[in-house]
């Protein structure tokens, strides 16, 4: 952990803090925030945009999918994947690397979080059907690599949260999957897709 973001109402306070930090640590001022933990930050007149375009490009290269066509959806609809369908992969390392990268990519991509949630359940013994899903997600990302997460200016600081759940979404364990997203004003700041830790006997959302 050696990167910092500093923000405050005016530059003077920031400079004061920086000198204070310099006294204790050997530090380097990188100026305005542009590239942080693989996130590309673009400052526009109407707000801040967040993107992981380089990360996506590296991922496409790693998966060897540079020459493939694009798809419009991250997953096939109404298909449920099971733990023991398909043939076991001989070498699951690539699968794990790709899914690991996809998990990090959900930092700026709420739209793949359900698909990534699905494939990350098969990390221990991935099969070829699961690998096909991973490839599809990456091909989907390829078409959207220039899309960005937007934090608009002059946003009201009102926290709103939405959630939904399916019942029961996982064919192996009969557990439901919850998804939620939280908005601070118009900016999406938090989302999650998670399998519930117990089996629901009714669809009443709890």
């Amino acid at each position: 952990m050696d990167d910092l973001i500093i923000t405050r109402t005016d530059h003077e306070l920031i400079t004061k803090l920086q000198t204070k930090l310099h006294a204790t640590f050997r530090m380097k001022d990188l100026g305005q925030l542009t590239y942080f933990l693989g996130l590309e930050v673009h400052h526009r007149s109407n707000g801040i945009f967040l993107n992981q375009q380089k990360y996506i490009q590296d991922l496409i290269k790693l998966a060897g999918l540079a020459g493939t066509t694009l798809v419009d959806t991250p997953m096939e609809v109404n298909v449920k994947y099971r733990k023991d369908e398909g043939y076991l992969l001989h070498d699951p390392t690539l699968y794990r690397r790709l899914v690991g990268s996809l998990i990090y990519l959900t930092t700026t991509r709420p739209n793949i979080s359900y698909a990534v949630h699905q494939v990350s359940q098969f990390m221990s013994s991935p099969r070829h059907l699961h690998f096909a899903v991973v490839h599809r997600i990456i091909r989907y990302l390829k078409g959207l690599s220039t899309h960005e997460l937007f934090f608009p200016k002059a946003l009201s600081l009102q926290l709103m949260a939405y959630r939904d759940a399916n019942w029961p979404g996982c064919p192996d364990t009969r557990r439901s999957t919850t998804g939620w997203c939280m908005f601070l004003g118009d900016a999406l700041i938090s989302w999650k897709c998670k399998k519930q830790d117990r089996v629901s006997k009714s669809s009443t959302k709890g």
């Binding site: 952990m1 405050r8 930090l21 380097k28 305005q32 220039t146 949260a161």
Partner: protein
């Protein structure tokens, strides 16, 4: 279709359907199979220069081979395996069209004549356990199991080989004795290469047209691709870091110390690293107590890029080989606090909404600010110093100087707000920035509210 079959269909009330005349497209499976077979047959004939009249033998060899090769449609097992349930033996496979010597039957030889006859290998018998060989003298096929193969030589001369003096079925076996010494029969040898030079002027006049592959105009025409570089649409006029990947691929990152010493940039990076280690008083050089087994170290290299793809700097790190450490003796803590992405997004959202300036800073050698409680002995990087000394000191657990930051009264790793007075350090908020994610939705929501309250309201 035979009359008997047609009448059978009629009697059984079966309506038979046919494809349209001259429309092989409607006969997909069979045509596709046919193409596969023809491809293999053509390859066998061309590679070994076997005359075309042996196409029948080539076809049965092709079928023999296809049945024993793994097929992707069968999930990488062979049709043979599907049928019989066990893998076929590949030991009896030979090069199609190679020279072979068939042991003569007792009635064809006596003590003082040839014991074998030179033939061309043409495949595998279907109904016998033996090899099919063509005897050019008798002009007939011999099936035998007592065959010795010379797989490095084709029987029929290739027409591009300058050594072929004439197109005959019985070429002179000039370097026979030489071959006998070099290649012991019964083994698989590497295929001879076609001569790479052009045809000599005194090329023999052959019956067939010269192969088109030698024509310089029509020969190696690569597939034509568009030279336009493709890039994603830039609808909003945003920056697209195309150059990132090119920069990354143009710089080779050394994997070892010796490789790195060949370039000045990496040398400089290593010097900077050593200097920083000394300035931070990371270690003391002492002699190692005999009871302690010191751990090793190695250099790790990497490059740092700016977000526009240009090279920022070369990085070299000296790392201790921590895999030799033992829990409880060399270390107790293994965690490294990391920022939660939700926190970062929240800060960015707030900063954007309030139009606050965002600054980025980078702590050099951040890991050195973590102080070790344990004593760790590390060998000096031997290649670098050539000193058999040992050092003692604070070597790294990658947990940043948490206490130092707290000593400054700063609130977290990611958000440093000066407006907060240096009051008592709120450990709860610190943990809320970095702690494990809450499990359920309601917990998460409460966490979110507390985070926002800490960030804005106070």
């Amino acid at each position: 279709m035979s009359n008997a079959f047609q009448s059978f269909l009629q009697n059984e009330g079966i309506l038979s359907q046919h494809s349209c005349p001259s429309t092989p497209q409607q006969n997909g499976v069979a045509e596709r199979k046919n193409r596969h077979l023809l491809d293999v047959v053509r390859t066998l004939l061309l590679e070994s220069s076997v005359p075309l009249r042996f196409w029948c033998e080539a076809l049965s060899t092709a079928i023999h081979l296809i049945n024993r090769l793994p097929s992707s449609t069968l999930h990488n097992v062979s049709p043979f395996y599907k049928l019989f349930g066990y893998s076929p033996s590949y030991f009896n496979l030979r090069t199609f069209g190679c020279v072979c010597f068939v042991h003569l039957a007792p009635h064809e030889r006596h003590k003082l004549t040839n014991q074998s006859v030179k033939c061309a290998f043409l495949g595998y018998a279907i109904n016998k356990k033996g090899y099919v060989c063509y005897d050019p003298q008798l002009r007939r096929i011999r099936v035998s199991r007592n065959v010795v193969f010379f797989e490095n030589q084709f029987f029929f001369p290739s027409y591009v080989a300058p050594s072929s003096s004439s197109f005959s079925f019985m070429p002179q076996f000039l370097d026979f004795s030489h071959t006998m010494e070099r290649f012991k029969p019964g083994l698989v040898y590497t295929r001879r290469r076609l001569p790479s030079g052009t045809l000599p002027d005194s090329a023999p006049i052959l019956d067939f047209v010269p192969p088109p592959a030698l024509d310089p105009v029509t020969s190696v025409l690569p597939l034509r691709w568009s030279t336009r570089s493709s890039k994603p649409p830039d609808w909003y006029g945003f920056f697209t870091p195309i150059s990132l990947s090119t920069t990354l691929s143009s710089i080779s990152i050394p994997s070892s110390y010796t490789q790195a010493m060949e370039h000045d940039c990496w040398k400089k990076a290593m010097q900077e690293e050593l200097q920083a280690l000394q300035e931070n008083h990371t270690w003391d050089i002492v002699s190692c107590p005999p009871t302690v087994k010191p751990i090793g170290s190695k250099w790790v290299f990497s490059i740092k890029l700016r977000s526009d793809g240009s090279l920022d700097r070369y990085k070299a790190r000296l790392v201790a080989l921590g895999n030799r450490q033992e829990y409880g003796i060399d270390y107790e803590e293994t965690f490294a606090p990391v920022a939660k992405m939700t926190t970062i997004r929240t800060i960015l959202a707030i900063a954007a909404s309030q139009s606050w300036p965002l600054h980025q800073m980078d702590v050099k050698n951040a890991f050195l600010h973590g102080d070790l409680k344990e004593e760790i002995y590390m060998k000096l990087p031997s290649v670098c110093f050539l000193l058999p000394l040992l050092m003692f000191g604070n070597f790294d657990v990658p947990c940043m100087g948490l206490n130092k930051l707290l000593g400054l009264g700063l609130r977290s790793f990611v958000l440093l707000c000066l407006s907060y007075p240096l009051r008592r350090v709120n450990m709860t908020i610190l943990s809320s920035f970095t702690s494990l994610p809450p499990v359920s939705f309601s917990c998460w929501f409460m966490w979110m509210i507390s985070l926002l309250r800490e960030l804005i309201m106070s």
